[in-house]
């Protein structure tokens, strides 16, 4: 952001806003949690809290990836396709009912590398072909689904790999291994965001890309790298879904693209870039999961749930964004 007009005014607002700008989503999370807890004894049971956290695992990993892209001010819709391709890849490489492969961890690594490759492709399309990230990633998503469909070839691969299956079933300290993997991703994401040039520059690109250029930083490689890292997260998320469902589905990533963007935005990561981060997004993921779970627990009719959920999400985002409104920032 270059500060030109209304400097004095925006300066004041930023200062005032800084205090509770970041507090909105966590407060909303606590408030919504308490409301559901008061309404439903099942909701506040330990088992259900475990359930919520477990259910959040995959979305959390996807959101980790998408957060970096959003921080940069771009958008990424490729997760659905990348996850599908990764799910099929991993299910065909670990022990399964379609072929004799049994590569175990190497298969999982391959799926993640494939995710990286798709992210790299998105990044290249963005910086070399100057395709807007919205279209570039939508295209990559379609390519991912296409690749997944080819690998699917009419027969669903069911996995029999004991380790991968156990990720969804076995527990450590009451939470499934997948949840711990998600926690590790969040930690890794936070470290990248805080301690690496990649993370800080992603943040800076969202804040004021032209300043980086004026400072002699070559921005493009970082953009490609950010999409690549995001792709790795999607690849891992595809593996996790496969572990959960016990099978490689083309539709493994169905709906995760928009859920992840929603979660990130609810958590306070702005689509305009430069604000928010991994921890914000994590709060957003929990908020979304608490909401879906809570509405079922308190027995809201399924016919009403979609609408109610949408309403609460919009309200939460509005509450989180109001302190950040500034005069010169047009929200379209």
């Amino acid at each position: 952001m270059t500060v030109t007009t209304g400097v004095a005014a925006s300066r004041r607002i930023i200062r005032r806003g800084a205090a509770f700008r970041d507090a909105g989503p966590p407060v909303a999370l606590v408030v919504i949690f308490l409301i559901f807890a008061a309404l439903s004894p099942q909701f506040r049971s330990i088992a259900n809290v475990q359930n919520i956290v477990d259910a959040a695992a995959v979305l959390a990993v996807v959101t980790c990836g998408i957060t970096f892209v959003l921080m940069m001010g771009s958008i990424d819709l490729s997760s659905a396709g990348v996850m599908g391709a990764s799910a099929l890849t991993v299910s065909l490489l670990v022990a399964n009912n379609r072929n004799d492969n049994d590569f175990g961890l190497a298969g999982i690594a391959a799926a993640i590398v494939l995710g990286c490759a798709f992210g790299f492709l998105s990044g290249l399309a963005l910086v070399l072909l100057k395709v807007p990230s919205f279209m570039a990633t939508l295209g990559v998503s379609a390519i991912g689904l296409g690749v997944a469909t080819l690998m699917f070839a009419g027969v669903q691969p069911n996995i029999s790999d004991a380790m991968l299956k156990s990720w969804a079933i076995d527990r450590f300290l009451g939470l499934s291994y997948l949840t711990w993997i998600a926690a590790a991703c969040i930690l890794a994401g936070w470290l990248i965001q805080r301690y690496t040039r990649l993370g800080r520059y992603a943040f800076a690109i969202g804040g004021a890309e032209e300043v980086l250029t004026l400072s002699g930083v070559r921005v493009k490689p970082y953009k490609v790298a950010v999409f690549t890292v995001a792709g790795a997260f999607y690849g891992l998320a595809g593996v996790m879904v496969t572990s959960q469902l016990g099978a490689g589905l083309v539709q493994a990533g169905n709906g995760y693209d928009f859920s992840a963007i929603t979660a990130a935005v609810v958590g306070g990561t702005l689509l305009t870039g430069g604000r928010g981060g991994i921890l914000h997004s994590t709060v957003g993921v929990l908020l979304v999961m608490v909401l879906t779970n809570g509405l079922v627990q308190i027995g809201v009719s399924p016919y009403w749930q979609g609408g109610v959920e949408g309403l609460i999400v919009v309200a939460a985002v509005a509450a989180a964004v109001i302190p950040q409104r500034r005069r010169n920032q047009v929200v379209k």
């Binding site: 952001m1 270059t2 500060v3 030109t4 007009t5 209304g6 400097v7 004095a8 005014a9 300066r11 930023i14 200062r15 800084a18 805080r194 301690y195 690496t196 040039r197 990649l198 800080r200 943040f203 800076a204 969202g206 804040g207 004021a208 032209e210 300043v211 980086l212 250029t213 004026l214 400072s215 002699g216 930083v217 430069g274 604000r275």
Partner: protein, 517 residues
Amino acid sequence: MSVPAEREPATSAPVPALEVRGLVKHYPGVKALDGVDLVVRQHEVLGLAGENGAGKSTLLKALVGLVTPDAGEIYVRGGAVKLRSVVEAANHGIGMVFQEQSLVPNLTAAENILLGSEGAAVRRGVYRWDVMRRLAQEQLDKIGSKIDPLARTDTLSFADRQMVEIAKVLRIEQRSQHPPVIILDEPTSVLESKEIDTLFAQIRRLREFASVVFVSHRLDEVLDVCDRVTVLRGGQSVGEVATAGAVPRELHRMMIGSTGSDDHYHENAAEPVEAEQPRLSVRGLSGKSFRDIDLDVAAGEIVAIVGVHGSGREDVCRALFGIEPTSAGEIRMDGKKISLPNTRAACAAGIGYVPAERKIEGMVGPMSVAENMTLTKQKARCAGPFVVPKKQAGLVDRWIERLSIRTPTRDTAIQRLSGGNQQKVVLARWLIGGDIRLLLLDHPTRGLDIGARSEVYRLMRELAASGVATVLLADSLEEAIGMADRILVMNDGRVATEVGCPSGGKPSPLDLVKEMV
């Protein structure tokens, strides 16, 4: 003490830190630089003065590699160099503090200071915050700033951010063995006077180990802080002045030149109409950044509002059009109160607004000239809900001719026109309805070349003569003085004083500046 525009013979002094010879830069339709010469000696503060459009900013951009000159040479410590990027300029020890601050708001001060030259603070892509903090602190210590290096930049005051920028620019010392050349582009335009003092102290410190090029609109500042001043006019260096004992008027004369400006620029064409009641009458208007504004504008009168950045004048102007919310006060048009804040009501009352951010607020870039012109006056081109092409075409062509807008056709996308012609289309939008009574012009000549500017001036005069009242936020004091019948000086959100500005009795810029700061 002015001396002719000749290059200093390089005998007595050591090699200049930076020298420019015969720099030329053309833009379509404009010769921004027309053989500029410039010498920056070691350990001196050189002022650069010139009116808008004199070529200052193009010259500065050429010095930091953002603009490639068409001809001419740049020498650093006697050696010819080609500067193709900011990095190359930095490698030669040239750095600039940009007028529009170039900091990333959501990073810490330390990161901004080290941005692009992190050195030991980043190892294999991983940040070492303690090293970063230390390196940034070293930079801040150089200029004696007490800012916390780990504070987020957007939580700092404007003056502090400027310190961060200077600290950042000084990182170029790491890249070059020689004392750096630091360019400060309009650093004072948004500072308060106390902050300006600090900045000047800073500049004097910088001189100990660097050369400084200082650019400012305010001639008193230039004389205050600089050792020497080079004056630019029309893309050429027209003189050098040693500041000791010099007075602003002398500099000003050189900036304007002996030819003087266009006639209409300094002559009011018609006397404002004396009426029972003013066309626009504002009483006690208060808002976020302004308080108790009283303002009357008669039909046919041009009233300029001047003030430094942050004085609140932009907000007052926007409040009159109902964009900026107000907390108290009333606005009357021809005695009739209009509701606030409401853009529709303002339009209905015959108020038109030409925004400063033409490209953002003033026009829809990809739409045609015709569409842009008829944007607010749909009625004029429509029958019911439908656009009547013939009606629109006739109307638009008439105004294209009347304002001599140079456009290939009325269907050309407005973004393809030059700035001056774009501005005329924006103006025409308010004129085609024929019911305009008050025009609010927010920097109407910003970014226009001299020819286009004088056309806009001519247009303003014509409108005033036809009885339209005008509130003008001018681009420069000279413009305000030239165009206005009356000038309101705003300072810190209030009207500090009102100065009559009739033909033949114009105040001087300095009279106004006194009240502004």
